[in-house]
């Protein structure tokens, strides 16, 4: 028996526990417990305020109890039907009070909302901005984002579902962006990003597609090289040659993630030897490689042989990347190839037969793709 209890823990430990809790729990469940916790909660300065369907009823109270200078993250999320909560937020909250705000997420935002928010935010601490909109014409919205990037020195910008946003942004070389997420990108927009954002480390896009009438060069002929470290394409549809060209500008990549929403023709991207050569020749610094591809059963007749191409010393010893083939037991036409673990949105059904590069064995499993192999849950 010891005297230790929640209120007697060191402040640093209690703050660490808070870092795993939502703001509502900290304010409504922990703050009233005793004077010490009340004081510790009020001194906590890493609050994340989230207005979403779940928290809407208690949000006004939570907002009132939250020490305003302790708020570093504000998320205003819309509901599934697309209803925006921006106006609700504005009716009860004053964003000017958040003087240490570092990250702002606004869903369902309009041009008017953006102008108002950017005028009201007075802090110089904002470094992360994430927006999405229901509006079809995003050009006006994006035109307001560019000056905001410079005003607030934004380092992380997420423009969810904003297709061809780059051409409306007029990026300048002095921009401090380190992280950029956009929707569909034309090849020339991608090049603009690489050439105008020297500090960019991470880029995520839905697709990179060829400009009409433009032929993608096989490799970069210019001396230009980006220092990009992480590239993600969530709806990858490029050919092998196009990928080669794309990657030739970013030889220092240490993370590459390629996932495809639709089934692809069974070709090189399903071949471990292809990726082994590709990475050896083009991406010598690559430390993290993630793929998720889907194909039909045509042309796939021997899983055991296919998995051996991902069990070479390059995959197993040098890179230590685990790969699995699987077919969904409920949808036998689809075959998946993916690295393990991977965060990929494939819907809710996970039951599948899986053969892994770990041991070449076939197992029935419903393990989430974002978790490692599990010896007890996966049945041979």
């Amino acid at each position: 028996m010891t005297d230790a209890s929640l209120p007697t823990l060191p402040v640093e430990v209690i703050h660490r526990i808070f870092s795993y809790c939502d703001t509502q729990t900290i304010l409504l469940s922990i703050r009233p417990l005793c004077k010490r916790l009340y004081s510790i909660v009020n001194a906590y300065n890493l609050f994340e305020l989230t207005l979403d369907p779940k928290s809407e009823s208690t949000f006004p109270l939570v907002y009132r109890l939250t020490p305003s200078e302790g708020v570093v993250t504000l998320n205003i999320l819309r509901c599934k039907s697309g209803y925006s909560r921006i106006h609700f937020f504005q009716s009860i909250c004053d964003i000017r009070r958040f003087t240490r705000l570092r990250s702002l997420t606004m869903q369902g935002v309009t041009e008017k909302d953006l102008i108002q928010f950017f005028q009201q935010i007075s802090t110089d601490t904002l470094t992360s901005l994430s927006i999405d909109s229901n509006e079809k014409d995003i050009s006006k919205l994006v035109s307001h984002v560019k000056p905001a990037i410079e005003k607030f020195k934004i380092q992380k910008l997420r423009l969810h579902g904003f297709h061809h946003a780059i051409k409306h942004m007029s990026l300048s070389v002095g921009c401090a962006l380190q992280h950029l997420e956009v929707g569909i990108c034309h090849y020339d927009e991608y090049m603009t990003v690489l050439q105008h954002l020297p500090h960019l480390q991470t880029m995520l896009m839905k697709q990179c597609i060829m400009n009409e009438g433009m032929t993608m060069p096989l490799t970069s002929h210019s001396k230009f090289r980006s220092l990009l470290k992480s590239l993600t394409i969530t709806d990858f549809s490029l050919s092998e040659q196009q990928l080669q060209s794309l990657i030739s500008f970013t030889p220092t990549l240490i993370h590459l993630k390629l996932t495809a929403e639709k089934c692809r023709r069974f070709n090189s991207v399903f071949d471990g030897s292809y990726w082994e050569d590709f990475i050896r020749n083009n991406l010598p610094s690559l430390k993290k490689f993630e793929i998720f591809f889907c194909t039909g059963t045509n042309g796939v007749d021997d899983f055991a042989q296919l998995i051996t191409r991902f069990r070479t010393p390059f995959w197993v010893e040098e890179k230590r990347w685990l790969v699995a083939w699987a077919f969904a037991t409920w949808r036998s036409d689809d075959i998946w190839l993916y690295t393990v673990p991977i965060d990929a949105d494939i819907g809710r059904v996970l039951h599948r037969c899986e053969i892994s590069s770990r041991d070449g064995m076939c197992r029935l499993t419903n393990r989430h793709l974002n978790t490692m192999f599990h010896t007890t849950a996966d049945k041979v």
Binding site: T2, L9, S19, Y20, L33, N42, S103, H179, T371
Partner: protein
């Protein structure tokens, strides 16, 4: 503190085989001594720093803040996790993961099965859970226990009495009962950095 799965644990066995040759001794504040290998030493910055600075030979490193009953399971935990893959920074020049967002909430639902069973041995009633809480897994577990609970439930869970009782500051449901009477104007005095009179009273 690392959390991992069985498979990743076994897959990394080759990485630290060479690190197990040297052993050192550590001693709890009640005199219990453990001999640990370099794989375990590497997981504790305190022990590693001390062992690097001093050549103590056979003399155990004293750990005055740790009891024997807690040190034993800590050594067991570290022994289990010593072969976990080390979380490598993606960039050699910069420890920051380019994809890491330090302002995103941390996950607390990624405690592996072994760790979950391990933490079950430490209970709130015996107070031992709070002795081991310096480990991340302990903080995550506490967060999971209190998330979404009413303050009265948390109070009961951790056996916390009001201080001082009856004054309303910590009265059960003092906050929850106000949830339906949300003010529409801002009361800035209620949100200062130092403890203020509770706005509900």
């Amino acid at each position: 503190m690392a959390t991992t799965t069985d498979s990743s644990n076994t897959s990394a066995t080759t990485t630290t085989e060479n690190a197990t040759s040297k052993t050192i001794k550590i001693q709890s504040n009640d005199g219990e001594t453990h001999e640990i290998d370099q794989g375990v030493v590497e997981q504790s910055s305190t022990i590693k720093t001390l062992s690097d600075l001093m050549d103590l030979g056979d003399v155990p490193i004293p750990l005055p803040n740790v009891k024997g009953s807690i040190l034993t399971p800590i050594v067991e935990f570290c022994n289990y996790h010593k072969n976990d893959p080390k979380p490598e920074p993606l960039d050699d020049d910069d420890d920051d993961d380019p994809n890491k967002d330090i302002y995103e909430p941390k996950r607390s639902d990624d405690i592996c099965e072994w760790d979950q069973n391990f933490i079950k041995r430490f209970t709130v009633q015996e107070g031992t859970l709070f002795d081991i809480i310096m480990a991340t897994v302990g903080c995550k577990t506490i967060a999971n226990m209190v998330r979404g609970k009413a303050s009265s439930e948390v109070r009961e869970m951790f056996n916390i009495s009001y201080d001082p009782p009856g004054e309303g500051l910590n009265a059960p449901n003092a906050i929850e009962s106000q949830a339906g009477t949300v003010p529409t104007t801002q009361d800035t005095s209620a949100t200062g950095p130092s403890p203020q009179p509770d706005p509900m009273n």
